[in-house]
Structure formats: C-alpha cells, structure tokens
C-alpha cells in the first residue's frame, strides 16, 4: 500500500513529539518564559541539521529533489 510509508513516518513523528515533550503545553509555556533551553535545543538542532541535510540533498541530487 502506497500510503503505508507515510503512516509509518507519521507514527514515528507522533512518538518523537510526545517523547521530546515538544507537544507539552508546559514546555511551550516554559520556552516563552525563557526558563529552559529544552525547546530551543529541539528546534535549533532540528533546523541546523535540517539545513545541512537539505544542502546535502541538493548538492548530491538525491532523487528528484
């Protein structure tokens, strides 16, 4: 089934969001109070690594992207 891979990525994403506490109302509140590095660490590392990944994908032309 062609949607299975998307379902699996979604399940993985849901698990990460909960286990990282990124979906926590309290963590988001704490972030906007500048009282923890946790959320900034998650978003910051995701973006830095994401930028490197996108750069690498473009550079080495993985698939059609």
């Amino acid at each position: 089934m062609k949607y299975l891979k998307f379902l699996l990525v979604g399940i993985f994403f849901g698990i990460v969001l909960v286990k990282s506490e990124a979906v926590s109302w309290y963590r988001i509140y704490e972030m906007f109070k500048f009282q923890s590095f946790h959320m900034y660490g998650i978003i910051g590392s995701a973006v830095v690594l994401g930028a490197i990944s996108v750069w690498a994908i473009k550079k080495f032309r993985v698939k059609k992207y």
Binding site: V18, S20, E21, W25, A51, S53, K63
Partner: protein, 187 residues
C-alpha cells in the same frame, strides 16, 4: 529500554524531527502539518465558498495519512512508551503557573485547568478553545504554514519568508504568555 521510556533529551529529539523531514523529502513530499487544515476544509465543502479551498485535495491524502500516523504515534508513546515520569520543568515555571492557578505543572502533557472535560465544556473553557482554534486555523493559513512547515522545513531551506513567519509566531507566543494568559487566568 529505560532511556526510551524516559523523556528524550533535546539533542535526540531535534535530529529525529529532522529525520522526519528528510524522509518526506526523500518520498518527494514536504514536511508541513497545517496544510492539512486547508485539505480538511476542502473535504468539508469549503470550495463552494472560497476559491482558496478549490483544489485537488485528493493529492494531499498522503499528508492526512501522516497526521493520522502522528495521532497513532502519540497514543503509542503516551500509552506504551512512557514511565510516567514528571517533566523536568524549571521550578520557576511551576511557581509562575501556580500563581496563575495551574496546579501540578508537568505531571501531564496538558493542563487539566484548560483541557479537562468539565473545564473545556464550561463557557469560558469552550470560548478559549474555540478562539484558540480559530487563531491557529486562520494564522497558519494566512502565514502559509506552522511550526513544522515554516520553522523546520522553511528555515532548513533558508527561506526568508519562513524566518519572518517564525519571528511572528514567536512574538505572538510572547504576547500570549506574558500579557494575555495573566489576563485570562487569574487565580
């Protein structure tokens, strides 16, 4: 196994979120959750009222599948992959929340003061959720994305509009946290 059941540190979680984006790029798609709000409106027939919703939503079924998966994954994580440990929040945060009437901060993902059924179905609680839902729905479509599409995908692609949107989200969050929440919730 213990390290899976305990909350995951940021330096594990962040890269795993990148991995989600990379998987979707590899599949020839893109990572963005709030586009699904538009898709759902179109399925509901909103195309009759606005051209914005007149598009081939069937091409977006893959993204709805990702959302469905995220719901299932969230359930799996809460039900089977958690040891019930309390969030390691800053004591200052817990104290600040107590002053606003939020007890037991960090013992669950969401505050019962807003999301418990008896609070959610009160006039004030219902108004909070409906207004909040409207703001999220309108804002993400007006900006063309949310935290996943703009902050993760957009910034990873070094898109200036995404940076502007993310700054906007953040300023909005600061206004809500520092000015509006103390007005809405006074213990």
């Amino acid at each position: 196994m213990d390290s899976i059941l305990q909350p995951w540190p940021w330096y594990v979680s962040g890269p795993l979120i990148t991995l989600v984006m990379v998987f979707l790029l590899y599949f020839g798609k893109t990572f963005g959750m709030s586009s699904n709000l538009r898709t759902l409106c179109s399925i509901g027939g909103a195309g009759k009222y606005s051209d914005f919703f007149k598009f081939d939503w069937k091409a977006q079924r893959w993204n709805l599948t990702v959302v469905l998966g995220a719901i299932i994954g969230g359930f799996i994580a809460v039900t089977f992959l958690s040891d019930g440990s309390v969030m390691d929040l800053n004591p200052e945060t817990i104290k600040d929340l107590k002053e606003l009437g939020f007890e037991n901060a960090g013992t669950s993902l969401l505050p019962g003061e807003i999301y418990d059924w008896n609070n959610a179905l009160s006039v004030k609680g219902l108004a909070i959720l409906i207004v909040a839902g409207f703001l999220v729905g309108f804002g993400t479509r007006y900006a063309g994305g949310c935290t996943s599409g703009h902050a993760i995908t957009g910034l990873s692609n070094l898109q200036l509009p995404s940076l502007i949107a993310v700054i906007g989200f953040f300023v909005g969050g600061l206004i809500m946290t520092h000015f509006l929440i103390p007005l809405i919730f006074t213990a």
